[in-house]
Every structure is written in C-alpha cells, then in structure tokens.
Amino acid sequence: MTRYAKESVPKRQQPLRAACLSLVLLVLGAAGAGAGAGAVAAPQMQAGSALAGPNLERSVKAAYLFKFLGYVEFSGDPGAALNVGVMAADDVAAEVTRLTAGRTVNGRPVTVRTLRDGDPTTGLQMLFVGAGAERPVQTLRNAAQNGVLTVTDDENGLQQGAIINFRLVEDRIRFEVSLPAAERSNLKLSSRLLSVAYHVQKGN
C-alpha cells in the first residue's frame, strides 16, 4: 500500500480511471450478487463474520481515515511514524488501529491514540473528532495551529473549522473538504482526494 501517488492524476487518465472503476464495481457487484447481497457484500467477505449496520459504517470511516493519510503532504521526517489522534469515537479508534496494523503509508508506519477533551494535539498528523466531542471548535482551532489534518463527523463539521468532514449521503459515507481550512493548517491536499470528495468548499 505504499504506492499511492501523492500527486494529482493527469486529466487524460480520467476516462480510463472511470472505465476501470466501473469494471471494479462490476466485479464487486457480481461478487456481491453471488453472496446474495449487492452493495453490502464487503463485510460478508470479512473472514466469515457477517457484520451488519453500525460496524460497517465504523469500518468505512476508519478505512477513509487510513486512506486520507496517503493524499496529503505532511512535512517532517519522511521516515517517522504518522500519528493519528481520535477523539470521542473509541470504536473508530479501535478500527483504525486494527486496519493500520502492519500497513504503512508512503513507507511510514501509522500509530493511533485516543484523545480526551483538552488533550494537546501537538505531534499529530491527523485528528478525527467524533460527533460527541465536547468542544469541537476549540479542539479544531488548536489542531489547525499545529498543522494537523482534521476530520469530523458532524453536519456542521466544516463550519466548525475541520478540513474534512464525513456526511451520510444516500446511504453512503461521503466526505467534504474545506480548502480554506487546509490552507490555514498549511496542508496541501492532492487533487485526486478533491476529485472524489462529495463537495469541496473553496475560499470566499
């Protein structure tokens, strides 16, 4: 998983990508149909444990968090671990820990730690703030000052200052991105990430 390109994908490759994506989806769909379930086939294949509902949602968010790390240019020692903080979402923290075990992003290992309200955000590359966080605005402001990639799970996440926010759109977990917030944290997001985002908030 170390070969994800940080840079944007050239425009001319888009049609090919789309074609490949539909091919992948077709295969996924066929596999799903074979398993007796279309779009929810993924968890069924997970080592026999038929995960339903909330677990899948949690897993998808955790997988996104892991993926986001590969589409952002983080400064600092290129060999050091990427530190991920998770606040007010212990279940997501556990899932990210599980997913990232034994995996690296651009050659860097990933560490996960859970944060409590008021804990410092220094040393983090990414912070996920769950919907139940007590003081999201203060936490996000603090994280921005430390150049942390912030991700929230709240209808008003971007308004509160997050860079990336999860949204539930037509039964799917999508994410939206705020470019002004990324600028404030001096983070450069790849255009590939932006092209997949459900919505990109530009400066105004």
């Binding site: 090919l16 279309g38 339903a52 998808v60 997988a63 996104y64």
Partner: protein
C-alpha cells in the same frame, strides 16, 4: 482479475472466496459506494434523548413508496394516521384523533403548519418533495416546553436536506390508478459560495368513493414550486427557503374550491463559542382557502423565534429563547357557518428556559418551563422535568413529568352556526356558538421509557405513558339566557385519561434484510364532568382512537440492484363513529436500473379492494387499493 488493467496502484485482488479481503484495501471511490444500512446518524445522536422519539429516515421514506407526507407518517409506530378521504387525513399521537385533530404540533423546517382556526393541520395544503426530506422526527408525548401550547400529545418535525446535499437534477414521475404526480428539482452552487435548489411539483389525486359506492368529490390537483438556499460560513450558516402553491379541491356536485399559499423562511445559526450557539428564525406564511362548504379564509402569519444554548461549568446545558407569532385571520362566512369577529389579529408571545444538568456522568436531569401568552387565555405555564440514566453507551432509561395545554382556537371562541341565524328581537340566535368562557384544555403527563441496543444488529424502545386531561372540549346547552352565542356553546365539560405503551424494534436479520416492528397499546377514557349537558360528545371527548395498532416492515436488498419492501399494518376498531379494525399491506419493488435511474412498482392497501379508516357509514369515504409505477431519474 479486472483491477489488473487499472492505473489504480496496487489494487488488491477482491476475492469472493473471502480469504484476503479487507476494507482498508478499497479505493476512495469504492468506499464512496459502500452502502451503509445502519441506523442513521441522527438516530444514534437521538439515542440519548429523554423522550419517545421515532425517526423516519430518508431511506425509510424512499423504500416505503410513500409519496405524500401523511402516507410517510404511517411509518411512525407512535402516530395514528387515518385517511378520511382522498385528500384529508386525521393524524394524532396518543389518542384524541378526530376530523379536526388538535393536539399535535407539526413543523416543516421549523415552520409551524397548524391552523389557528382549530389548532390542527389541514393536510391538503402541505406538500414537500419527498426525495428532499432528510428525516422526520416524531416525538410522542408533550413537547410544550420547547415547542409551546398545541404540542400536547406530540410533535412532528419534518426536516429537509441542506441545498448542499441536493445538488444536481432529479426528476420523478409516478402514475397509478388513484393518483399521479411529477417533480423536477435542480440544485447548484451560487457565486457567493452558497448552494441552492429549486423545484416544481404537480399532484393529481382522484376522488375517492363513499362506502355506498358513489364518488365523494374529495380529489385534489396541486401545483407547487419552491427553493432553498444554504450558505455555510465559518461557525454558522444562513438558510433561506420558500414555497408557493395553488390547489383545486374537488367538491361534491359543485365547482372546485381554490386553495393557495406561499411561505418564506430565513434562519441564521451562529456558533458564538464552543459553549454557545445562537439560532434566529423568521417565518412568513400566507394561506388563502376558498372552500364555500367549509372555510373561506385568508391567513397571514409572521413568526420570529430566537434560541440560545450555552454550556456552563461543564455540567449544565442551558437553552433559552423567546418567540413572537402574529396572525391576521380574515374569514368570510361559508354557506354553513361563520366566525365572529370575522377578522381577528392573534398574538402569541413566549419565553422559555431549560437546563440539562449532568448530575453524574450517567445521570442527566432536565428542568424547563415555558410561559406562552395568547389572546384568549393570557399566560399559560408549561413546565417539564426529565431524568435520564445511561448505564452504558447502548441503553437509556428515562422518565418525565409535564404539564401542557391546548390554548383555545378561533373555533372554540368565535365559531357561529348556522351562517345566517334566526333573529329574535334583533338578537341573532345561533344553533351552535363558540364559548366566551372556553379555557385551555390541560394535560398532565407522566412517562417512563427504555431504549437499548443489545447487539449491533438489533435495538428496541418502549415507552409507558399516563396522561390526565382536564377541561376537555364539549358542547353544552346554553344556560346564560339571551346573552348567548348559540343554543349550544363550546365549553370545558369533560375530563379523561389515556394510558398505554409504545414499542418499536429494529432487527438487521441479515446484512441484506432488515425488519422493523412497532406497536401501540392505549386506553383512552373520557367522561363528562358533573353538570355537563353535552349530548353528542362529538367535540372533545375522544371516541376515535384504536386501542391497539401495530406494523411490521421488511426491507430486503435483492441481487441485481433491486429492493423489496413491504409493510403489514393493523389498526384496531374505532368506537364512534364506528369503524371496523383492518389489516393492510403496502409494498414496493424498486430496481436501480442504472446508476441514475430507479424504477419502482408500488402497491398500497393491497389486501382489500377498499376499507374505511375514519367517519360514519354509509356516507364516509373509503380507501381503495392502488398500484403505482414510479420513475426516478437523477441528472
């Protein structure tokens, strides 16, 4: 494997044999397309609300095949929905249903849609693009401290999606043997950085039939258009939305009656600090109804509302606010009855405060009160206290005590029938008149509720309630001599109780199959107070409430992008007017033919050619079996 051809780097082999699969190996695009079938996020957030709340999610509505608000409300097990005829519904929670049910408050995006004529909702004037609904929160039990008088037995909050979430085009068309409708909606971005959507919608509902077989003349043809725009700003946002509509209401043996209206909502939210939020909302609403057999009314409403929440010392969540509502109601006597004075300005002013106090990490006490002032009875005091114990993250035990009122409507005070009275010695003598002394109906309510999610795949909720009603509306013979408004007057001659239980459960039986069940058992008992001479018991003394109702809903994801949903529902018999109990079945088969095209075949009331839900035989209308084909295209 297909991924080998892709520019996608290191695409792992997705093996259907299930050995080396992990969700972390999916690409961003694939993650974008994983369908989540869990309970919605709002439900998780509301899981710790100390009230009997049922959420109808957008997916529930889409999968049910409901194409109107009242039909969508059937999905809530804590509501009683009875269709009177083609366009009119009686909807209540916790009893006291009637032709003009008046103990339920309904809001669409924060705009109260109740009629000051009778404190209820005229459902024929309400429509929303069903695909734009984010969720419907149905709260049974009193909500007066937050929402004010009229939220006696429940509150329905219909919440539409932000314009940000309805970008792009949507067109739907459905045609069936009883009704047809078509909608076009388009959403885009504004140069100022905001988002907007605009829509147009037409609905055509055929007349229903009476039990005796003839046409009942209650069909409807409605045209509606509207917009919504949302601007997100750092730490806040602005929402502006509006609708305009006109409808032709069929009349038995006469020309159609006309109904039209328009409304505008502006709402500003602002996060002042981490611990402090402000919300200010202005609503303008105009309705014109020219129904010669019922109301001829022009109503203008201005409603300003502000709410401030703040957290103090980590343990107190304080919400306080105020509102002012002004209505100018202008009536022309219909052929049947009138109102005196014909024109009236109505004012409601309110102030409320509520503190949610964390006594311990797992124990919350909520104490609140509202004072609401109205034209007829002055200040009404609406307190409530709630206690919630959360022994673990997945369960909640709560209890509440509330006092609430239904303030008099124009019907209760100003009504006169017949429209042209007999004049005796220059004094008009009406048959029935509003009561100059009619006071607010009151309710004192106790509730005990429990919610738990024992495993990720299933959850249930149960609420026990007991409500004690006083000063319920009756019609009393006049005893005041000549100084009367009618031979019979509206008065507060009855009292009663309702006790019961509301339960619902969800079970994700398999990843592709979900079951929902709901059950309400209740006993509404009312009696005339000493000295009451009410003979009909037709007004306030509840006789149209089933003792039990239940529903079972199945949602199945089929292979090849198809979904099959069905709902079996049962409603117990109504006493007076007598309506037999009934079972009915609604079903929808949906095929996502293309990524942007859905085809749905919907059947409603499939078990019988027709059944009655409300009213006295043989004149009442019946609900007939219907089959509808619906096409949805996103562009």
């Amino acid at each position: 494997m297909a991924p080998a051809f892709c520019s996608e780097p290191a695409q792992p082999a997705l093996q259907a044999d299930g050995q080396s699969y992990d969700i972390a190996d999916l690409s961003l695009e694939q993650l974008n397309n994983v369908v989540i079938t869990s309970v919605s996020r709002q439900e998780e957030r509301l899981a710790n609300a100390a009230a009997s709340i049922f959420i109808i999610g957008a997916a529930d509505i889409r999968r049910s095949g409901a194409r109107s608000l009242p039909e969508a409300l059937r999905l809530a097990p804590n509501l009683q929905v009875a269709r009177q005829n083609a366009r009119d519904y009686s909807i209540t929670s916790r009893g006291f249903n009637g032709q003009f049910a008046n103990k339920l408050l309904v809001l669409i995006d924060g705009r109260s849609i109740y009629s000051p004529l009778f404190s209820g909702v005229l459902w024929d004037a309400q429509d929303v693009v069903m695909d734009d609904i984010d969720r419907i929160e149905v709260i049974s039990g009193p909500g007066a401290t937050i929402w004010g008088a009229n939220a006696v037995n429940g509150v329905i909050n219909i919440i539409t999606r932000s314009a940000k979430d309805t970008q792009g085009g949507l067109a739907t068309a459905s045609a069936g043997n009883r009704d047809r409708d078509a909608t076009v909606r388009y959403g885009g971005t504004l140069q100022s950085g905001g988002h907007y959507r605009v829509y147009g919608r037409v609905v055509d509902i055929d007349d229903a039939e009476r039990a005796a077989g003839m046409n009942d003349g209650t069909g409807l043809r409605r045209r509606q258009a509207g917009f919504r725009a949302d601007w997100d700003r750092p730490l806040g946002g602005l929402t502006v939305s509006g609708d305009i509509y006109a409808a032709d209401l069929a009349q038995p043996g006469r020309a159609d009656a006309a109904l039209s209206g328009a409304n505008l909502i502006a709402r500003v939210t602002r996060k002042l600090t981490d611990d402090s939020d402000l919300r200010v909302q202005l609503v303008l609403d105009h309705v014109e109804r020219n129904q010669p057999l019922a109301f001829i009314e022009r109503l203008d409403v201005v409603d300003l509302d502000a709410q401030h929440s703040l957290r103090v010392g980590g343990r107190h969540n304080i919400t306080w606010g105020g509102g002012y509502r002004y209505a100018q109601d202008r009536l022309t006597p219909s052929l049947v009855y009138g109102f005196i004075p014909a024109d009236r300005s109505l004012h409601w002013g309110s102030l409320f405060a509520q503190d949610e106090w964390s006594l311990r990490d797992d124990l919350r006490l909520t104490v609140g009160a509202k004072v609401e002032h109205n034209n007829y009875t002055g200040a009404e005091y609406l307190p409530n206290v709630r206690l919630a114990w959360q022994p673990g993250p997945t369960q909640l035990l709560w209890t509440s005590l509330s006092r609430t009122v239904r303030a008099p409507s124009r019907y209760d005070r100003d009504y006169r029938s017949p429209a042209t009275p007999v004049i005796v010695g220059n004094v008009p003598r009406y048959g029935i008149g509003g009561g100059p002394d009619f006071q607010s109906e009151t309710a004192r309510v106790a509730e005990l509720g429990y919610r738990i999610q024992p495993a990720p795949a299933w959850s249930y909720s149960a609420t026990l309630f007991y409500a004690d009603y006083d000063r319920l509306r009756t019609q009393e013979p006049n005893v005041n001599g000549p100084a009367y408004s009618g031979l019979r007057q509206v008065a507060n001659g009855a009292a009663g109780t309702n006790r019961g239980i509301e339960m619902w459960a969800r079970w994700q039986a398999m990843p592709s199959w979900r079951l929902n069940g709901g059950l309400t058992l209740q006993r509404v008992r009312t009696h005339l107070k000493e000295g009451s001479g009410d003979s009909g018991g037709v007004l306030g003394v509840a006789t149209s409430d089933p003792n039990h109702q239940w529903q079972l809903r199945s949602s199945h994801d089929l292979p090849r992008d198809m979904q099959l949903d069905w709902t079996l529902r049962y409603t117990g018999a109504l006493v007076r007017p007598a309506v037999p109990s009934y079972y009915e079945l609604d079903a929808q088969w949906l095929w996502k033919a293309r990524r942007n095209i859905d085809v749905a075949l919907i059947g409603q009331n499939l078990l019988h050619p027709y059944h009655a839900e409300f009213g006295a035989a043989p004149g009442r209308s019946v609900v007939q079996r219907s089959v509808v084909l619906k096409l949805t295209v996103r562009f």
